[in-house]
Symmetry: C2
């Protein structure tokens, strides 16, 4: 195998190009591309990412053949630069920089001024006639080299301490001698190879790993290393260095944007030790290179057809381009830039769809904190950023208090150890939710996202005492009624009341702003219209109540993919009836309670059908275990124990009553409720519940149909694992549906299908598809069972797992393609084999997550269903899945 | 399709044969076989089981073409019998009997004397010159017909009421007229077709369904119907009817065995209204037919090469054979018969292996009740027969009491709502265990079976009050110290102290009887030796402690397939250290506690290695969630609440202490512990635990190896779902193992593998096999996750599921081949693809269940591991899997 590892750029000998990002990294590929465009790029060469991989595979050793190639390129560089390493009169100085395929700003190491030693520093002093400049360069080299290559932590502070540059150099030399037992390496080539290796190694630094984890960058990519002729922005007032964007990355405004420092090296701009100037001023200070920069960056934007984020240096009035890359941007900017570029005919609408990230759209929906107010507020703790957006209000500690205080017109923030379905009313009334435990798919997180409610979970630094109505962080105690603020986008928790506001798009959606007033909204909907024309996946919404459904329609949902009927049972007017039903000891009395619930459910469904105007409405029969509707077992036990200890005759009726309740709660108690008596297991042991729900659905559908409106009810049986469960429930639904349609004298098309959330259902999908007319992957439960991770408990180890790279990422956030995804594929294939026209979708939380949406597209699902607020994101991601596949 | 539905037998025109059981049912096939052997079988014909299936598939209608075929066969029968239906002088009378492939004694219906009406009864009276006999026959027909065909419940009592047979006939006629509005059908052919259809329908009677469920007979088999010329055992003193066995079915003794009644019809023998005579007496009473019967049944036994269970009738000194089939037998009998027949050269040893059911061997191991004492005892309730055997003792309600009372020398029976690992000590000391909740794989059941301890679980009729130390059944209350007895073979619970004894084989195993004193034991071991020569599957044992391992070796285990190390942590001298380790807040203090556990664990493993003499010893690292080792959360909460309510200064230190404990218990609390922080997740978050365990194992192994003994430690990582988990734990084990071997100066071969109990592990087995050197299916957990059934909770619906045929059987009892089994197959294939020599076995409870063992053989596993008491059963089942496959 005769592989090439080094790629030259500049001096008319460029070997790489932009398309070679995989092997040259982003920086190297773009340097090569700029060199090809004949832009002023200091010459140099890039050592490929391939070598980084080999280096690690090969126990930190480079292939033997690299040595020759490397020194050949060093020679080539010396020739192109017209300078030599170690030359006592005209020494070659280079920078050694990392450059991975995906930008990882500040995560890896850079060493500048490599080639300086006691001899060449004198030459530099002489050449530039600026001895202090030369020693400044030497100092910087020694600081960076000692820190990065020699791992001497004291080097940086020492190099920045008081004193002349020469003094600092001397002190640094001494430090190196002390710490390593050897003098600072004087051989430029030794410096160079050591620097090169250190930069390769920085790929695996802890901070780089963590960054990659967070941004889902593969560990196996590796970094390239760029060795490039130094140019100096610190040669005086006609020298400068700066960074910039071709358009404003925060707003998207088409305006040259950036900052610079005269007489400085690049790191000074980043380090914040001096305050940089707005780039416009460069036009006055060093006009000619500024004009050249404008014209070069214009050309780069046209060439790359996207906003460029660039770095430059001016050395004695001469401009050098050191970097260009696609500029990162906020959601606001992304949308505006995409539209502007389409207008400018720089890109097509299809390309515009790829220029906005799905998560960008989310940013546009969530309320935001006033940035100054946030900066001044006291940060208390940081949890998981479960549901984005900003929220502030008075802390309350129970759902009841949330409802009561909100009723008084107060803004409240619900703080709980964890939430349960009992808290849903309180969550609706609260501005935001903060929990001490739970992960990204804990109850609070899931419901928070569905409601589009700001939510921080798993904030373990706060100790919640719900009884006392307070929480503490360190020594600070926050009591009921104290104001706190949470930023669900970052996971931050603040003391005090930070101002928030609806985002512009939400103002239009809520009707407080007219669409024609909002360019952003118009662009938002236009982009999604384009997406709709491209995507193959249908996009539906998970919505339980009419207001959710209305929101879903406004966001462009094409149906309800999941309506959880049990949420309806937690409403305050219904919970007592539900409890009465559960406490019933005979089928007859159970039926009496169900009869009371029937008209209420029917009313819900009627509204949903009307709002959804003929789109499919997929209604899931009751799913959670019945004990969720009753008081908590341990609380009852404690209450009874206290009453008994107080020992008074007056208590006795109360004790008897509570003991009766506890007896039933004990009967229903489960060790592992997630795998207990729930889902269709309830409908099978209590067929009368399924009967009531089927009747409510069909009566509602008939009612709406009689008004001449279209209805498409789809009845979904949860937690099916065996075909006989599906058969059993389907028979009940059909029997009731036929009865109702006969009573009402209307014929309605309806479908009966199932959730796929049990591994057994996935592997026996061919069987189940014989009965089910549609499948909807409940990937929350499927992930639970496939991994054996309780989503309520897994936070205890899953954070550790991700930090320690046992898992690449949280499988409750993005579908685990290898395991859960494999079951999904098996299921879809088997299901289609026995029922070719079966409709298959997903209604788990993953349905609103871009990578998972791509996966659903890839395995040929028919639709995704996400919470209403994630519908726009899903429409875009579905379109991108089509475009990126091509 | 021109199918044949009817098959004639007798009169030299026999169409069927024994091999056609599938379509003729057992009775029909054997009648045909006997007819072929020219034995005296009354002629008749069999309508095939195929028709039963068609009848049900086709909405209770027979195929049109049956009609002609049926009446052709009726004519054929008339001709063969020389009689005609409805003939006023010589009428044909027939019996109509069911006959499925597998015998279902008494579960389906029979109608005798079909063909009698007001006219033919007179003819019969005249022919036999016995009018009362004729009316007795008519009465019996009317009784059975009214009951079975016309569904008139009152017919039977009325037909048996006082009065002459003629009176009873008149009353029955009146009853039929009243209830159906029509007279009793007089047309013999109408009687015949109605009777035929009713017998087909009886296949789906509730009792027949339940029976099939219990004995795992497929619903789809259907029954055949046999229509046969009546012969009469009730024609006087030279007539008789009887049943018998060619050998004693209880003891296996080679002695003609049976009973008969003179002047009776078959039902009289079964009904118990008259006491039958031992069959020997028939030799005196009706000698010639008796001798013929002896010679025929001898011939039948030789022909079928197995014990025959037969029915006969003697009509006026003439013998007729009405049925022959393989005789059911007890375990004791099965073993003896198998050996006797080998000795008689009737069968080969391989065939003998198929003549003993695996469960028979189990019967031989468990203690038994004195049968008379049991009959006289008061039956309290019935639960699930979780672990066979008889046990009696004084009821105790906590593990502590069990230990304390047993220590005083008392026999105790532990009664609990449910058991937990905390109860294990108590279970060891108790004679048997009775729980109110839980299913066949609940903690009590699993541990009970493993210990070979009699255990009845899920006995919901008893209400246990552990605090008060009593349980109630209806109005009866059983208090601590009262004697109760449980029969784990039947699930029965009795009041009082029923005598029990060790079985003969257990006496030999325990050394209280010498092997040479026990023929049974010799046969038992001989049979298993034969099995060992035939089987391909290895058989190992699940054993945690030395005494289990010793038992396993005595039962022929070839290794320990699962040693659960956590059981060791529950021992009273270790639990406090374990708790100290859990309550530790730093790694350092955790390590201190672990260091105390190390020598204890090492000691355990040393003993195990010595006992197992070089056989593989598979040791699983810690598996259960840590909170299992701490007090129960709700109990702590109640204690604290009570202390606080009492409100005294003296309490405060106690409250503080308990609150500290509660805080940690709360931290560890999980909503779904089965899917929580357990298994390798513990070893990954607390690597020091795995380190300690690996060290204990390897130090023990080195110690034994240094004594010159062979050791084969296999370290098994539980609950792996992702290859990285396996990698992580494997690295630790290897590091420690190499360290220890270096320290000890010994080299030992050891293996590192994993349980396969997470669906994700099964579908990514190719990945995992890259690291794991062996797989062991943990089918308890795998079934839990694949179905989403918590085994601690699923009893709530799974019994309903099985009763209502949602599930064919409890997947925790026998492997669900379609779902769980499919994952196992995928796993084994993928695992072998990436590591061809990977050793794959099973150590879940299913490893000791015959059908599951067959499945493991079928999919090519290498071994099964079962509780020591099930090792013999597994050895036999593994051999049968080979023999039955051929």
């Amino acid at each position: 195998m005769s592989k090439k590892y080094c790629y030259f750029f500049g001096a008319g000998q460029t070997e790489g190009r932009a398309a070679l990002k995989d092997i040259l990294g982003g920086k190297g590929a773009n340097l090569a591309e700029m060199a090809r465009l004949k832009l002023p790029v200091p010459p140099g060469f890039t050592i490929s990412t391939e070598l980084c991989r080999l280096y690690y595979q090969n126990k930190m050793r480079f292939p033997a053949k690299l040595r020759k190639e490397f020194f050949d390129y060093v020679k080539k560089l010396e020739k192109a630069a017209g300078k030599k390493f170690g030359d006592p009169t005209n020494p070659l100085l280079v920078s050694v920089r990392s450059g991975a395929k995906f930008s990882m700003p500040g995560m890896m190491d850079t060493i500048l001024n490599v080639g300086l030693n006691d001899q060449t520093v004198a030459a530099l002093a002489k050449l530039t006639n600026q001895p202090d400049f030369a020693y400044d360069c030497y100092r910087r080299l020694m600081m960076m080299f000692s820190d990065v290559v020699l791992d001497i932590k004291e080097a940086k502070p020492l190099g920045m301490a008081e004193g002349s540059n020469q003094d600092r150099v001397d002190k640094l030399k001494q430090l190196v001698q002390e710490k390593t037992g050897r003098p600072f390496p004087q051989d430029p080539l030794e410096q160079l190879t050591m620097a090169r290796d250190a930069v390769f190694q920085s790929w695996h630094s802890p901070r780089a790993r963590i960054y990659r984890q967070q941004y889902r960058i593969s560990e196996s990519l590796g970094t390239a290393v760029n060795i490039q002729l130094m140019v100096f922005g610190n040669l005086g007032l006609s020298s400068a260095t700066g960074v910039g964007f071709t358009r404003n990355p925060a707003t998207g405004e088409k305006k040259f944007y950036g900052e610079y420092l005269t007489n400085a090296q690049g790191e000074d701009v980043v380090a914040g030790t001096r305050t940089p100037q707005p780039i416009d001023q460069l036009a006055d200070e060093i006009p000619q290179p500024y004009q050249q920069l404008r014209s070069i960056t214009d050309r780069l934007e046209k060439h790359y057809r996207d906003v460029q984020d660039f770095e430059f240096t001016i050395e004695n009035n001469k401009l050098y381009m050191l970097q260009t890359r696609t500029g990162k941007r906020t959601g606001y900017a992304a949308l505006r830039i995409a539209f502007d570029m389409v207008k400018e005919k720089l890109i097509t609408p299809k390309e515009a769809l790829l220029r906005v990230e799905p998560d960008h759209l989310n940013q546009l929906l969530h309320p935001i904190f006033d940035q100054t107010a946030k900066k001044n507020a006291r940060l208390l703790a940081k949890g998981l950023n479960a549901s984005p957006g900003a929220a502030a209000g008075q802390a309350v500690f129970t759902a009841e208090d949330a409802v009561a205080e909100a009723h008084k017109g107060k803004r409240v923030l619900l703080v709980r150890k964890e939430t349960s379905p009992n808290d849903v009313e309180g969550m609706i009334k609260a501005r935001g939710v903060l929990t001490a435990t739970g992960g990204m798919t804990s109850h609070a997180a899931v419901v928070g996202r569905q409601m589009g409610k700001s939510c921080v979970v798993g904030c373990s630094a706060i100790k919640v005492n719900e009884e006392k109505g307070e929480f503490s962080v360190g020594n600070l105690t926050v009591k009921q009624g104290d104001y706190i603020s949470i930023d669900g986008t970052t996971g931050e928790v603040f003391l005090g009341d930070i101002k928030t506001a609806d985002s512009e798009i939400m103002q239009v959606i809520k009707g407080t702003m007219k669409p024609e007033q909002s360019l952003l909204y118009q662009q938002f909907t236009k982009l999604l219209d384009w997406a709709d024309k491209v995507r193959r996946l249908g996009v539906e919404a998970n919505a339980d109540i009419p207001s959710d459904a209305e929101m879903a329609i406004k966001f462009g949902a094409e149906g309800i993919g999941l309506c959880r009927t049990e949420h309806m049972f937690f409403a305050p007017d219904r919970l007592p009836i539900m409890q009465e039903m559960i406490l019933a000891t005979t089928e007859e009395s159970r039926r009496r309670s169900l009869a009371k619930l029937l008209p209420l459910q029917k009313q819900d469904f009627t509204e949903l059908f009307e709002i959804m105007r003929g789109y499919p409405v997929t209604i899931r029969t009751i799913d959670p275990p019945l004990h969720e509707f009753l008081p908590k077992r341990e609380e009852l036990m404690v209450e009874i124990a206290i009453l008994k200890t107080k020992h008074s005759i007056d208590n006795e009726p109360q004790i008897t009553e509570k003991e009766r309740l506890l007896a039933r709660v004990n009967e229903l108690h489960e060790f592992n409720p997630m795998m207990g008596h729930r889902g269709c297991r309830l409908g099978i042991t209590y067929p009368e519940i399924t009967e009531m729900q089927a009747r409510a659905i069909m009566e509602a559908a008939c009612l709406v149909a009689k008004k001449g409106k279209k209805v498409s009810p789809e009845i979904m049986i949860p937690l099916v694992g065996h075909i006989n469960e599906m058969k059993h429930q389907k028979e009940i639904v059909i029997k009731v549906a036929e009865e109702v349609m006969k009573e009402q004298g209307v014929k309605i098309k309806y479908k009966i299908g199932t959730m796929i959330e049990i591994p057994r259902a996935a592997v026996t999908a061919d069987e189940i598809a014989r009965e089910a007319e549609f499948f909807s992957f409940g990937t929350n439960d499927l992930t639970q069972m496939t991994f054996g991770y309780s989503r309520d408990d897994s936070a205890k180890f899953s954070r550790h797992y991700i930090e320690h790279k046992i898992l690449p990422e949280d499988p409750f956030v993005s579908i685990d393609e290898e395991g859960v995804g494999q079951l999904m594929k098996i299921c879809a294939e088997k299901g289609r084999r026995s029922r070719p026209d079966i409709r298959i979708g997903i209604c788990g939380e993953h349905g609103g997550e871009p990578a998972s949406i791509h996966f659903c597209h890839k395995i040929g699902l028919d639709y995704v269903s996400a919470s209403p607020f994630r519908v726009p994101l899903a429409r875009l991601a579905a379109a991108q899945a089509v475009l990126q596949k091509k």
